[in-house]
């Protein structure tokens, strides 16, 4: 007995619409079974994971706070993935955004005025882009694979940030903890509402995917990126140079990752610490695929992924479910939609 995979003639629109819903449902189901096997009450664990974070306003605010950076980074990365450019170093670009923007903020402890924040954010973008420019340059000049270079630069960035906050940028009054001074008020994003931690950064983080959706769908630059991904030779023929596309998507992805980094450092954190985010740069890759590389699909995908982070915390606090379970749930969240997508496009047949 063998299995053979055959492409379906035309995936039915009904099936296409149902696939995301079904796969999320399957994730819930499989997570429940997993919790039960681990010896926790499945119903209560699922409630703690997926429902409890959504019953309070504060929960929604926390959800948006985590989903925002994921959505913005994922939308930036997706432009590259659509073109067949695999920047998987957003975590490093995010870190360098925080380093560059945070460095400016620390250098201007007494600066006042409305110009400080835009400057800090621009430097964050520039820091991310500088880190993305290395893989772009190596790829366009020497043909070096951007997957390896972007990933390896992540480790460089993480260690550089650690060296700075353990060393020259360490807060002299910080009891020797590895952290910088707090940023000045004008270099910090203040919460919009009194009782939530949401900032203007979060709003921008949800607006960027919408803007990218528009650019990918309606602007010539988005068309050139889609062409480069679908048929590279046709892109060259149309005059959308490959190198230009590589630069555009790597700058978009790394610049937005850098912006997300400084939004975190200058927002909820307010200073530089060794770990700016719990791996948002990597999680964003999952979010990008979960959203089918469509910036509008990425927003709900980011919310779902953020829910699994917060739900993991809730479940740990209320039921003592180990934090590793959250990682497994996130893995399932990617596994089911991707395999469902594959099965919607192909059928598996048993042949004798």
């Amino acid at each position: 007995m063998r299995l053979r995979v055959e492409a379906r003639q035309a995936p039915s629109p009904m099936l296409n619409a149902l696939v995301p819903a079904l796969s999320v449902f399957a994730t819930f189901l499989a997570s429940g079974v997993l919790f039960a096997i681990m010896g926790y009450p499945a119903g209560r664990a699922l409630y703690a994971f997926f429902v409890a974070p959504l019953v309070t306003m504060n929960g929604w605010s926390e959800l948006a706070l985590k989903a925002g950076p994921l959505a913005m980074i994922a939308a930036g990365l997706a432009t590259g993935f659509r073109a067949g450019i695999w920047n998987i170093g957003a975590q490093g670009q995010l870190t360098m955004g925080a380093v560059a923007g945070g460095g400016v903020a620390l250098a201007l402890p007494d600066a006042q005025g409305a110009w400080v924040m835009p400057l800090v954010c621009s430097c964050g973008i520039a820091g991310g882009m500088a880190w993305g420019a290395v893989p772009a340059l190596l790829r366009t000049r020497l043909g070096v694979n951007e997957i390896l270079t972007s990933l390896m630069l992540t480790y460089v960035a993480t260690l550089l940030l650690a060296a700075l906050v353990f060393g020259p940028w360490k807060d002299p009054e910080g009891y020797s903890l590895p952290q910088s001074r707090m940023f000045s008020d004008s270099a910090t994003l203040a919460p919009i509402f009194a009782r939530a931690r949401l900032t203007a950064g979060t709003v921008i983080e949800f607006l960027v995917p919408v803007a990218l959706w528009f650019a990918m769908r309606h602007a010539l630059v988005g068309f050139s990126i889609r062409t480069a991904g679908a048929a590279p030779a046709a892109a060259g023929y149309a005059g959308f140079g490959e190198q230009r596309v590589v630069w555009i998507v790597l700058m978009a992805g790394s610049g937005l990752a850098g912006l997300a980094g400084i939004f975190e450092a200058a927002g909820p954190i307010g200073q530089l610490i060794p770990q700016i985010t719990p791996g948002y740069g990597f999680t964003a890759i999952i979010v990008a695929f979960l959203g089918r590389l469509n910036p509008l699909g990425i927003i709900p995908a980011a919310l779902l992924m953020a829910l699994s982070y917060i739900g993991g915390d809730t479940a740990q606090v209320s039921l003592g479910i180990p934090n590793g379970a959250a990682g497994v749930v996130q893995g399932l969240l990617l596994l089911f939609p991707l395999s469902a997508d594959f099965l919607a496009r192909n059928r598996v047949r048993v042949v004798a």
Binding site: A219, T227, A233, A234, G239
Partner: protein
């Protein structure tokens, strides 16, 4: 006495092979004697490759039989072929770059045996036949000629009685060619038969004792090349001289709209061809043809003109007297140069995109489909509709994916897209390749009327009938070099065949040969 003692090494009787409705080989008879170097010349698509693939057992004949040393082969596949003594060196060999010569040879053998022994045998065979080869070298450090030696040695290790060589010299330098010929002559002297596929007439004249000429899948004649001239062989290959409808209009005397001046371009791919000093001028109102057998630099020439590959200096390419050798495809299109590449799916069009998006692909600027960087979807759709209407493209509408169109319909769409952008210069590669007769005639008509309106049209094609019917003048591309242009009416098909076989690029020589 053994009845098979005097049997030919290989005999093909009435071999026929069809692909769908197309007949690749029709009742082919062929006899190869022991120790004979037997040439198989023919144009592209004459059916040479199909024929030898059947001999090597890669393809199964629909009708006819293969006799090996007088005995009919019942079952046949490449493993059996190797076992009975048939070896084949393919035109594009597949070697593993990161592995050594020894490992590559071992991978290609059915029973490689212990490695040290194999290495010794490789050294022995390569010394005996003048094919210097170090078994320990890694393949990526070798030249193309050396890589070919690996394939030949691999065949020789199995002591073949028939060696099939498919266009072996297309990748070699002249010195390497001479060395290869020496090896082949030595092999033949020892009784190994060689089936030599080539369209290079001088090689066939220099090397082979018998030639079986194929045209359109049939044998059109068998001869002794040593008693033929390049011209008479070419006539056999191309099928008579001057019997085709040719265009006798005098070349227009308008201004030069497209000029290539001493253009050099390194091959873009491992099996590509370098362009060497290509010079051509196409005038307003003129259709200029580039003839030549596939793989002689057509891909590179197209890319050099369309702007997908850049020249070393601006002055190598002039569009309407403007130096633009360093301008990319988009800038050249803005100057009025539109183009239709050979490959429809994936190069000229994006298969998964709608016709509307494919209209946008090259029309975004000249057809005014983008404003301030934002696509005007309505304008793109109307442009696609205009193409569909004017060129009678059969489809349900602009929303159809390009991949759903038949080859001919997609070609009409692509050509229409370029022509409706009112180009000053149009470069078309293989305009009617794989297109049905009706669509082909329509495409030809479109090219003729475009030229009449004053555009310069350059047609790169392997179809001589097409070039003879369309072009005012033509040149032949051979191993990256372009012959001097000739008015179409002055040349016979046989003379062009000579040029395509690389006989000579000088018109006086052709006349001498043909006489």
């Amino acid at each position: 006495m053994d009845p098979q003692a005097n049997a030919p090494r290989l005999e093909l009787r009435g071999l026929t092979r069809r692909f769908g409705a197309a007949v690749a080989n029709q009742s082919v008879n062929l006899v190869v004697q022991p120790g004979e170097i037997h040439a198989l010349p023919g144009e592209n698509g004459a059916g040479k490759s199909t024929l030898v693939k059947m001999v090597y057992g890669v393809l199964r004949p629909d009708e006819g039989e293969i006799l090996w040393q007088g005995k009919r082969l019942a079952a046949h596949d490449p493993r059996i072929a190797r076992k009975i003594g048939i070896g084949m060196v393919f035109q594009h060999f597949s070697l593993f770059d990161a592995m050594t010569v020894l490992e590559n040879v071992a991978l290609g053998l059915d029973t490689p045996g212990p490695m040290p022994e194999l290495a010794a045998r490789i050294r022995e065979v390569s010394a005996a036949y003048g094919l210097p080869l170090d078994p320990a070298r890694e393949v990526h450090t070798l030249s193309v000629g050396e890589r070919q030696r690996i394939e030949i040695v691999r065949c020789l290790l199995q002591s073949p009685r028939l060696l099939i060589m498919d266009e072996p010299t297309s990748v070699l330098t002249p010195g390497e060619v001479e060395a290869l010929f020496e090896t082949l002559r030595r092999l033949a002297a020892q009784g190994c038969s060689i089936l030599y596929i080539s369209h290079k007439l001088d090689e066939i004249l220099a090397l082979c004792q018998t030639a079986t000429v194929l045209r359109a899948g049939r044998v059109v004649g068998t001869c002794d090349p040593r008693r033929e001239t390049a011209a008479s062989l070419a006539r056999m290959m191309m099928g008579g001289d001057g019997a085709r409808p040719t265009r006798n209009a005098p070349p227009p005397r308008g201004r030069h709209r497209l000029v290539l001046d001493a253009m050099n371009l390194a091959a873009g791919t491992p099996h590509g061809v370098d362009l060497r000093g290509v010079t051509l001028e196409v005038r307003a109102g003129e259709i200029f043809g580039i003839a030549g057998i596939a793989g002689n630099g057509q891909t590179e020439l197209f890319a050099a003109i369309s702007g997908e590959r850049l020249a070393a200096s601006p002055n190598h390419v002039l569009i309407d007297e403007l130096p633009c050798g360093r301008l990319g495809a988009a800038r050249r299109r803005a100057l009025g140069l539109c183009s239709v590449p050979e490959q429809r799916n994936g190069h000229a069009a994006v298969p998964i995109f709608s016709l509307s998006d494919n209209a946008l692909l090259t029309g975004y600027r000249r057809a005014n489909l983008v404003r301030n960087g934002i696509i005007r979807p309505g304008a793109a759709r109307r442009f696609a509709e205009r193409i569909i209407d004017s060129y009678r493209v059969r489809c349900t509408g602009p929303a159809d994916a390009a991949a759903t169109l038949s080859g001919g319909n997609l070609q009409k769409f692509i050509l229409g897209r370029e022509v409706l952008q009112n180009p000053g210069v149009l470069v078309v590669s293989q305009p009617t390749w794989g297109v049905d007769a009706g669509a082909g005639a329509q495409i030809h008509q479109a090219l003729l009327s475009l030229a009449e309106q004053g555009a310069a049209v350059l047609v790169i094609s392997q179809d001589l009938d097409e070039l003879m019917a369309l072009s005012h003048r033509l040149s032949v591309l051979h191993v990256g070099k372009l012959s001097a242009p000739h008015a179409t009416g002055e040349l016979t098909a046989a003379e062009i065949g000579l040029l395509m076989g690389g006989a000579s690029a000088e018109p006086t020589d052709i006349v001498a040969h043909a006489a």
